[in-house]
């Protein structure tokens, strides 16, 4: 396995065209995905995480469009690529698993027929029934269900079938948009373990988007925390979990009640994400930040290096520790 990234995203910006002018949903995202790597992307609803995935997969449709930056996948620039060239890459080199399998599968055709469509449309030379059965076995569903219609399967099985479909051509990159959000915890857990196992077995890279940070804690290598269209923290998953540098990451982490340890009152993150049409000045998180400082509303922070991660917070800036004796912010969200 070489160490050159298979996906390089540079300064990616996506805008939605609205009657009130363009709204920036994704603003200057940089991301490298190595072969076989599991990248988690977390953030609240409306932070631009799904839009970013769609931009990477070249699935944006008006009013959304890529306003700048580049997406290079296996050495090819994806931005501005024609549909015809994209069709050769889709499913074969990268595939997308959509958010709710309930809606993503066609309710009036059988699972097998949908697999067949994909294989035919992308010119498979293989024996179609055999390959379909193979991927079904991979995800732990009995191939007899190729004859089943989506409503005959449980939610967990439908979601697995979606993943099986994404693996028909054994792509190098699988992009997953909250594949587990419609499932209960037991099905969620078993699906996560399954994805991880398949990934180790087949060696594809995963970009996994979720609003539930705890879900990726044990599965991803790299973690990207997004807020209001910007990356606020990026780094090794373990390091972000153990020592979250950005107050937003810390807030997300502290939003979970724990099943062990003392029962503490939690506050979550009060307030809601900003309107992207008129984002706050300075740091976009400052109106909700528990450790806000006066300069946060005027100075726009960059991504500063802190140990194994980079954080977009003025408190992480190299000059900050020198200027002031830092107050301990870690208690800010626990009452």
């Amino acid at each position: 396995m070489s160490n050159a990234p298979i996906l390089e995203v540079r300064d990616l910006r996506v805008e939605y065209d609205t009657p009130r002018g363009p709204v920036g949903a994704v603003d200057g995202v940089n991301l490298d995905v190595l072969p076989g790597e599991f990248v988690g992307v977390v953030g609240e609803s409306g932070c631009g995480k799904s839009t970013m995935l769609f931009a990477i997969a070249q699935l944006l449709s008006p009013p959304a469009s890529i306003a700048g930056g580049s997406v290079v996948f296996k050495g090819q620039s994806m931005v501005g690529m024609t549909e015809k060239t994209l069709a050769a890459l889709r499913w074969r080199d990268y595939s997308v698993v959509m958010q709710s399998a309930m809606n993503a599968l066609n309710p009036v055709t059988s699972i097998g027929a949908q697999f067949r469509d994909v294989l035919r449309a992308h010119g498979s030379k293989e024996d179609i029934p055999q390959r379909s059965a193979e991927v079904m076995r991979l995800v732990g569903i009995d191939p007899v269900h190729l004859k089943s219609y989506p409503h005959q399967l449980s939610g967990g099985m439908r979601q697995r079938a979606m993943i099986a479909m994404a693996l028909l051509f054994t792509p190098d990159l699988v992009i997953m948009d909250e594949p587990t959000s419609a499932l209960d915890v037991v099905a969620q857990r078993s699906l996560m373990v399954q994805i991880k196992e398949l990934q180790q077995q087949l060696g594809f890279a995963v970009i996994f988007v979720t609003h539930d940070m705890s879900l990726v804690s044990h599965f991803s290598e790299q973690l990207l925390v997004m807020y209001a269209g910007k990356v606020v923290e990026i780094g090794k998953t373990r390091s972000v979990f153990d020592t979250p540098a950005h107050p937003y990451s810390r807030g997300l982490l502290d939003a979970f009640p724990s099943i062990r340890g003392p029962r503490v009152e939690l506050l979550g993150i009060p307030g809601s994400p900003p309107d992207l049409a008129k984002p706050p000045t300075g740091c976009r998180f400052h109106p909700r930040c528990p450790v806000v400082m006066p300069e946060c509303s005027t100075v726009e922070p960059e991504l500063y290096q802190v140990e194994n991660a980079r954080s977009r917070c003025l408190r992480s800036s190299p000059g900050f520790a020198v200027r002031t004796e830092a107050p301990q912010p870690s208690e800010g969200v626990i009452a």
Partner: protein, 336 residues
Amino acid sequence: MTVDPSVPLIETRGLSRHFKIGGGFSRRTLHAVDDADIVIYRKEIVALAGESGSGKSTVARLLARVYKPTSGEILYQGRSLADITSRKESLAYRSDVPMVFQDPFSSLNPAYRVSHGIMRGLKLHRTELTAAQRLEEAERVVEAVGLTPAADILWRYPHELSGGQRQRIGFAQALAYRPKLILADEPVSMLDVSIRIGLLNVMAKMREEEGVSFLYITHDLASARYVADRLMVMYAGNVVESGPMEDILARPKHPYTQLLLDTVPDPRAPLSVTSETDRGEPPKVIDPTPGCRFRFRCPVVVDECHQVTPTLRLLGPDHTAACHVATADLPDDAAH
């Protein structure tokens, strides 16, 4: 009605609900809930946990009188619901035991301002109020669920509110009836993780300040632990374990409870990805034969499980489980 605190607010005895499935000549029945004994006291938050398809929502609908029980009875403040027949009394029960739904995006009428649902409830259930008092009360409940400024929020349309705000409106609607027990059917599972805690805190506050009991239906044991006093675990239509929250978490008796506990993601816990993950799903219970319904997924199954249906046994103080294999607490453990 005089209130005797020793009488449970709501109690079910052998509550069952079966559904006929298949075509007109089919004799097959789906056992959604079988023989459930549920007790909820005043000012108590009881969590009902289980996977999709375990029958927990059916329990809520039975308690809300959406379904009639196939057998068994529901006692509300000591009185059987089957005896409540007059419109006046049914209305009174509905306002005492309202429901909050899972999906805040489809449970509010998008064509009306959010005040509409709250005001209608007040008009129907609290006829003593004048129009001005109704408005005042609507503002009070909206503020009670943490939405300010209430006067402004009331005149908005649902699409102008975020998911968390809409779900708060759902709670405000229920609160407007001066309820005794709110049936909350997965009220936070559709919301972002960062918003959930806020709603759970609203539930805790409503219990504290308004004295409301809750039946909190969820599949997430961590959130159940955060708000609830007692826990009931359902599997395939049966209550398999019931007891004080902390007690069950510390000493789970039923292997299914153990399985649920193991699946809770805990970012603070050290990394441990075991391949020994359960891949099963709860069965659809159609015309069941005797035997434990969990036996096909159970890691500690014994012969007896295939022949005899386990019943709830007392295995610790106030802690019951329906399992042949589970053992009671040691005497010194159970002493207090």
